[in-house]
Symmetry: C2
Subunit: 234 residues, 2 copies
């Protein structure tokens, strides 16, 4: 029953994608004379996320990296707003904002504590380069980058969790998925992994995130520092 | 012509596999009453390396991780020595010695200097878990683990170098292969990468390694600290 590796959801669990995207979109689009509710802009972009991945999970579209899906989804959102005139260079810059999202306050210290006792890797739907850039931006030290790109499919497909564990040389039951989303943890448990829920009550705006897991999990923590304490890392 | 990422050969370039394996084999096998020239034992094990990978490169055998090839090769070497009676547990321990090889003296500091200016990843024939364990053992900070496992083929196949660059979000010409082996660098250059040669004159025993590259390279350095200086990292 020994846990050897922790694998992490990233968007929402480690980084506050919503505030970051809202801020960056405002910074990049306001100078063009465009204005909107920037939080709603971030929500609209993120709303396209699952449908885009579902095309790949269902086999309707071959695997491609998240940058490509984000870019398609951005084009959709800009069209919805009647902002078709936004140039390609600005669209590329906006798309790259997903590479430098800001972390939640506890993450850097929490990962550092957890790394004393466990192998750490992201198990995100973000691709390797995006994960590398987020880690550089937020000063994280991963042991490896696992997730959708090495599995060539998207969570919650079981292969993504299992490929992460296998890449780290661990059995699924030696690997714990850490996430702020109950559905991610349910899928990880189904794939044979242990599970740790992290509360991110403000992910979708103040009070609009998951505060408690909606299903059974092995650990439930307020944040990563709390998880580290529960796992005996000091 | 900007280089954004450095990818590294590991066995021989970053770690002294020969002395490490010789020492570990002596430690594990001497208590069983076995004795031999332990450097020659390491050489014999390594001599099976290219033929084993060639079966995969040629399509004769499906891709498998290096642990599996190392284990097959160990069985061959033990048979050659008439040591068929070495038990499975000892063979597993021996095989795992490739996960904690000792680094050359300049490597930890050199990688740390280079990481200030470049994305760093191994581009080794070793698999992800083996690379994770070597990094932990030697206190290296990789941005990601690339190489044979993500390409599902073995160097010097061009796809391995190209897959490493692509995983890091770089074009081949933005990526530099760093190695102590001219044939590895020749293949990397053929795949479109820049090349840096590192002298490891003692890899195969005193004076029995490459001191100078046998073909054209973009950089040639005494060690990783020297390479960092040449690339402007202080």
């Amino acid at each position: 029953m020994t846990i050897r590796a922790l694998v992490f959801d990233v968007f929402g669990t480690l980084v506050d994608w919503r505030s970051s995207i809202a801020d960056d979109a405002k910074t990049l689009l306001s100078p063009l004379g465009l204005t909107t509710d920037w939080d709603a802009f971030a929500d609209a972009w993120r709303a396209q996320y699952q449908p885009a991945m579902e095309k790949i999970r269902s086999g309707q579209r071959g695997f491609c990296k998240l940058d490509e899906l984000h870019r398609d989804n951005l084009d959709t959102v800009l069209s919805q707003l009647g902002w078709q005139h936004v140039d390609a260079s600005t669209r590329e810059k906006l798309n790259h904002c997903w590479h430098h999202l800001e972390q939640w306050q506890d993450v850097k210290e929490g990962l550092s504590l957890l790394r004393q006792s466990f192998i750490l890797a992201p198990c995100s739907n973000g691709h390797i380069a995006l994960m590398v850039h987020l880690a550089r931006h937020n000063h994280w030290h991963w042991d490896a980058i696992t997730g959708a790109e090495i599995a060539r499919d998207y969570k919650p497909q079981p292969v993504v969790y299992q490929a992460s564990a296998a890449a780290l040389g661990c059995a699924p039951h030696e690997t714990m998925m850490v996430a702020a989303h109950s559905d991610d943890l349910k899928a990880a448990a189904h794939a044979g992994l242990k599970t740790a829920f992290i509360a991110r009550p403000d992910e979708h705006g103040p009070g609009l995130g998951e505060s408690v897991a909606t299903g059974p999990v092995d650990y439930s923590a307020k944040n990563l520092i709390d998880l580290a304490k529960q796992l005996g890392c000091q």
